[in-house]
Symmetry: C2
Subunit: 231 residues, 2 copies
DNA sequence: CGCGGCTTTGATGTTCATCAAGTAAAGTGG
DNA sequence: CCACTTTACTTGATGAACATCAAAGCCGCG
């Protein structure tokens, strides 16, 4: 990256190596002038289901949940995801409106580019468009697998599965702070809040995990994996 | 379509208007020389989970189920789909091996192109690549929504949902022949075979559907929709 | 015929959601 | 900073939803 091009911070952005790796320096500059960086506080809504898509958004920093409203009023969590995974939204290339809502689970930074400017970039940069679309396809793949995995498991298996997901995919650590309430876990793995808590208590009783409020520590990894596999 | 170009049947293929709408006549001819049309009998396996992807395949005619093997040996059906929906596989742009198996539910015709030739076409035809990828994204979208829908419903709601799916999306008719066994329905909507049958019997008893072997007739559409919604 | 696979139904027990009641924690306003 | 309110969490008890098992009927195919 030629620093002489200017002070534009986009050229140093981590995303340069992911979604925008195919842009040349001139277009990076143009992108930089057209982008807007917005921060969302924990709990704030980034996209709302049903709204028209006018911007391309990707998560630079933070953690978000993608979810949809059920008929009866409460939420169904589609997935919970880190930067590089959440590329604008699942629907950007196929639909005109958001299929899902997105909200921030941690304070999050989102980079925003008007959709028509993105399309302008696409027309001159095929690889960019292809790269982004493949990314979307990959993300979708993951979501499908996750949903199928959840459907095959019983309650204990689901809780074990989601704990392993947080530990391995989100925090990369045996011990972490849950970014969501018990109810949100329930909405994620399609079970009742009471039973999520009950199952956690059992895992605690059996010395497989340790919990203290939102803090989770996985003590017996192999056993938890076994429960996730067989359940 | 200039008929003078030759006898190549590709130029008249229905797919010309879908995935290959962006190819010019010269490339359609090249495609035609490189493609292979294969037919699969009902029950035959088209792709097998875990195998290396070396060919681009799309369904021209017939009906297929996409599924994966569970740890305990039996199957989980990801979705059931018609031509234009089944584009090669969900995994073709992101993975090197198939994530799911695909088998024919009816006698089916599949058009096959070597993957490296496809990539060659891509490099010269951006719109083709984009079109295909968007298609994959769309298909994935549908699968995600379906899986989420199934997860929110109770048994009766699931059976109603799947009957409506067959009626509306697959057969476009109030009366149709089920292309799958009761067990396969069960594997699709994550419930036991016995309960699928039991639920069908109840819908029959309540004069909402009529069944005779594989034949299904939806008698009370509104009521079935209500069950699918509330369940 | 007779065998094997798919279907159907009933009976049984397990798994799970729901309800209720209680406790801890986290905001909120004075 | 404390009293108050609200929201999240926890646990037990209950009944409903569901899977599993078993036995019987059906149907196609050798």
């Amino acid at each position: 990256m030629d620093k002489s091009l200017g002070i534009c911070i986009c050229e140093n952005c981590d995303f340069r190596n992911v979604v925008f790796r195919y842009l040349d320096d001139e277009n990076i500059l143009r992108l930089c002038e057209n982008k807007e960086e917005r921060t969302y506080r924990k709990g704030e809504i980034i996209n709302r289901e049903g709204e028209r898509i006018t911007e391309f958004k990707y998560l630079k920093k933070g953690l978000v949940k993608i979810y949809r409203e059920c008929k009866n009023g409460d939420e169904q969590v589609v997935t919970i995801t880190r930067p590089f995974e959440f590329v604008s939204n699942i629907s950007i290339f196929s639909d005109e409106t958001y299929n899902y809502s997105v909200s921030a689970l941690e304070d999050s930074t989102v980079c925003i580019v008007r959709l028509d400017f993105m399309k302008e970039l696409f027309s001159g940069n095929v690889d960019l468009a292809l790269g982004l679309l493949s990314r979307v396809a990959e993300v979708n793949e993951k979501i499908i697998r996750q949903s199928l995995d959840i459907r095959t498991r019983n309650l204990t298996g689901r809780v074990a599965y989601v704990l392993l997901y947080f530990s391995r995919e989100i925090y990369n650590s045996r011990v972490f702070e849950l970014p969501v309430s018990r109810k949100e876990i329930a909405d994620f793995i399609s079970m009742s809040t009471a039973n999520v808590i009950r199952t956690l208590s059992e895992l605690k009783r059996d010395d497989i995990v340790r919990t203290e409020g939102k803090m989770i520590e996985i003590i017996d990894f192999p056993k938890l994996e076994m429960i996730s596999m067989r359940g």
